[in-house]
Symmetry: D2
């Protein structure tokens, strides 16, 4: 038995998928042979070149050829998200498993259609929320399940980068409203994926969005920025936990920060994606004179770290999270329980995103169940 | 010329005031002689004992005697805040300067009355917001004034401690609603004092309060906790800056954390009171290959650090912030420009606190100008 | 053109080599096709199984078959170091390039023989000193070359792990003197590889070794530990720089720490392998009021980070350092300038190790040039 | 009963002593009344001015008048160390207790004479090694005594500042050999005081000194620097523990760093004076999946923190360490057990300093007992 892989798109995430597919069997051992079957790009020429670089058997300028290829069992979709619906639905309808990058789609109805197609197909349909895969996050989930920090009563999440922080950078396509809300859907989905995996559903939200730079330069002069690079929100989970969420694409000095603070009745957990090979834990069960936040390095005891290195202190890389995700996808393809955000979970995240946007527009608290924009 | 000091209250903050008065002249040199004239406590016996310990000439069991004493020029009020109004107004009406601990008062009308009395008296009336006094915070203000990080577009503040985190701790008086909202007025005023000093007025707020522990034990069985130990909020400043505020008295492992994140168009500043002898600065003017957050240690170049130590790396203590505050109070008494939160500034902070509480009650955005509870 | 790869050994480092060979072309693009030709293990059965897992065309229970295979252009040697000499010399004599894990060999004459064979063969002969490959370390070298911190006057290196810290762990083979000195040759070579790359040759050393646990349990009772798990040393470089070196395999809590402190006349650099996606830099050219250590995250501006991720904050993993090393090896195979520790460089490192051991035995300063044990 | 205080010298440390004397009773409560009796400075005029600033009853231009004053029970000596012997011996012979700043004296025979005078007098004779007083260090001692980290097998100490780092700073008096060795006696005594208090006596040492800047500018041109700003050493304690010591007065970016790493068979402790309100602790008794270094904030549970603040997170300042030292001095004056470095202990430290210097001169290991220079 083996798995035939199709890959559409060869940007950063396309390369990341290709590396994951090439490494997953050597890393984990317990997965089938992987055949890199067919790569799709914008032109035959580019597709052929990338196929050679990434080790795929062939390349096509038409993504439909990838999906139609009988050698292909699963399709990695790493194109811009405006293409996600069409490609994912087509692949699922062609009987292929799908591994699609986040965010799911620009519009809620697209996400709904994708989820429906996944359900109808019976195939694995998994989204690329790789931050949930790190050994630290997975161990944090174990700790929460065990009640290590007691009952959680409050959480705070911040996701910050600075790639849109420069006021002198020119107007880009991503500053147009047609591409979404801005930070909310581009970024917000990541911390929300952690909320989903660690704490469950969001019930109500109040959000405010902000524009650090109201206009940006074009060759024709200044043009109004139509999206928001900053979003901040309060929320309540269905479980009753209160929370805060901050998202900023214009936060100078922050490069890939996703800080998570989890406060419980018996302790506190802190995590930051910029140092995702470690996390912090405060426990009231420690002797009072020596209580303090422990900085715990990811280690073989934290699944599945040991498949990468035999010892702690030899940190994993961002790309390796994708290898873990790939293995979980394969488990989903095999019908086994898998630690993934599938399309149905992803739809929940999208629902929350749209509720946040609506709350910001209407300057009021919004219930997520009614939060979808009409 | 010399200054005669009266002190009412000898708990933690009373001792802190006493130490500040004893040290201020040796530290700064340029202040008058300080006479520790009269100390007030709950009984003559206790007052006399503390007067001896703290080096005061005499002690009285009646605070009115302290205020009436012609040897007293300025009165330190460090009693529980329900006494602040009566004592401060009496002292001001007796022609004394007043140095009153925060928070100003439990009720907004008390704060108004205190402010009116201060205005009528023409005397210095200063609140004990000592966190604004650290060399790091003062230098951050200088950097903001200079535009070192460009135009500020977003700020986040968190103030967390854990003294009410233990679910097994019994019901206390502070869990009764009569003492205020909970974390909001007890704690929230500190980060708001930093907002005041660094950024100006808050325009609108949306807040949610939470109770990590809904009931607490009494000898008669569980009793409902009437106040909120957690508050979280979004806000807009009058200047247009968007912000977030988190306050938690039940955050295990946080001991005196006041984290401040300031995002600007040319850089970012981060500060944490638990390590208040340092702050972090990211500047886009650094060469791109070596941009990063600098950890800057408070140093003689940061006023008024040099009055305490000739070199950086020899950290200041919390109590020494009070010495700086004392010197600023003396400047205010002398009619000079002073870096203080006076009663009028404090009233603004109280106004914001009440607006936050109202927003939480009514689950909606509230304008601070209309935010006072009726 | 393509490269045929042979791999001998499939433990941690064998897997790491396999992953590097599979990824290097997708990551860097500018390298030839890689053919995973032949894998050697202890038995045909194991070799065949691992060949399947790692994607090699065939496997053999005899390592000489790997070397003899005309499909093989380069041989990865990842077996225990007592086999290094025999395998490396054989491979070089068979006209293959060699990529051999560190440390080079237990005895100095073995390292000499390997170096001679490399020289005679004219083939690339590269050692697995991957810590020199991280973008942070490579950028630090650039900074030093530029004189960013002026003239370096003092350095300190510490390498600490805790895998031999437990006093209750039983006696192992590695506690026998036949396997070397202990921490010195097992660990010391890593910081010495950084010294080599960043600063050049060591001139003189004084070293002391220590045994944290003098005996260890065997089924027959306690047995004396014959090696030293701690070594500490002072040294002088040929350039005149003074330095300190600490090595400890029994340092509880340290997991993969290699701390490097570099003091110069215009600044300071600090690096720690446990957080190798960042480094710290202090520059006197910063404005005095804002001088501080910058924490700089590895970024696309630091070669070759950008081949892995388009943005900083998405950390690289330990295994990915091997991908960089692999690309440098390929450059060496192509006769291009390459950033590697080759056998000749490795011999210098071994010479220093033996001088350190001699200094410890004889309790005196030793010149490295005369440092080889007879 | 009360204590009459004499103070000689009013530089940084003089002010620090004055502040300690003023605060000690208010802070600790259980000490006698303090009378600031007599202050000595270089001239009557300066002495009178400082006496007024610091709150002393009178000032004299002749230090002998301070010592002779019957109102004076104890003399704080904070003058340059070349005066220490004469003043301390005179004060002790006059029947006064002595509190003398470190280092004890430039020459070993001076330190011997001081120790002899102290012994003959029967008075308290205490040195100003304030770093041993911090609650963190005191709690670390408790942990070591308890065996919390098992048997200590290795320690490392680093003390670094940068006040002599600038190569362009002119030649100063402190660059003359007449003032001592350089960093060794100026700085080295501090980490050695920690060794003394935590681990006991040093048995043997090997040391190397270095000059980061061989010459410095004078108005007459470059002049050779006669002292060493860097010293590095290996040592063995009498208890058998191996250790490393680094001292650097030219380490850019280090401001008051005294890093201490203590490795034991059951855990590790790390402390840094630049953040002396915290320390780090790794314990093997923690559950393996959650082992990590705890960052523990100094708290009321750590003696005598609670005398300064009722809660952790409200950091103490450097000057407050002197208040603790002052209280311990008073205990010594009262004949009670006291946590101090007295003259006899100080002599041991000096002996080690001279052994280190000798080792550096002679480029060999030196036994401390024979380490004194002739």
């Amino acid at each position: 038995m083996s798995i035939g892989v199709g890959l559409i798109g060869t940007g950063f995430m396309g390369k990341c998928h290709a590396l994951a597919w090439t490494s997953v069997r050597a890393v984990f051992g317990d997965v089938p042979q992987i055949r890199l079957a067919h790569l799709g790009e914008a032109s035959d020429e580019l597709a052929t070149r990338r196929a050679s670089e990434f080790g795929f058997a062939r390349g096509s300028g038409d993504w439909r050829a990838v999906i139609a290829d009988p050698e292909v069992d699963v399709v990695s979709i790493t194109t811009p998200n405006k293409f996600h619906r069409e490609m994912a639905v087509a692949a699922l309808q062609a009987g292929k498993h799908v591994w699609c990058e986040k965010p799911m789609a620009a519009k809620f109805e697209d996400a709904e259609a994708m989820t429906a197609a996944a359900k109808a197909s019976g195939k694995a349909a998994v989204l690329g929320y790789n931050y949930i895969q790190s050994p630290a996050i997975r161990h944090i989930r174990t700790l929460l399940d065990e009640g290590a920090i007691g009952a959680v009563n409050h959480i705070r999440l911040e996701m910050d980068e600075d790639f849109l922080a420069d006021p002198d950078a020119p107007f880009q396509q991503r500053h147009e409203a047609i591409n979404g809300y801005g930070a909310l859907d581009d970024f917000g989905v990541h911390p929300l994926s952690l909320v989903k995996v660690l704490f469950g559903r969001v019930q109500s939200v109040v959000c405010e969005q902000a524009k650090p730079h109201a206009t940006r330069n074009t060759p024709q002069g200044p043009r109004a920025v139509e999206v928001w690079d900053i979003a901040s929100a309060l929320f309540r989970l269905e479980s009753g936990i209160s929370g805060m969420l901050a998202i900023d694409r214009a936060a100078w000095g922050r490069k890939g920060r996703i800080q998570l603070q989890i406060f419980g009745s018996r302790g506190t957990i802190v995590f930051d994606q910029e140092r995702f090979n470690e996390f912090q834990l405060f426990l009231t069960s420690d002797r009072p004179t020596e209580q303090g936040f422990r900085t715990i390095l990811a280690a073989p005891l934290h699944e599945p770290f040991g498949h990468f290195h035999p010892g702690a202190g030899h940190g994993m890389g961002f790309n390796e999270l994708k290898v873990i995700e790939c293995r979980e996808l394969i488990r989903a393809m095999e019908g086994k329980p898998a630690h993934v955000i599938d399309f149905a979970d992803g739809l929940e995240i999208e629902r929350t995103v749209h509720a946040l946007a609506r709350s910001s527009d209407e300057k009021r608290w919004v219930e997520v169940r009614q939060g979808r924009r009409s």
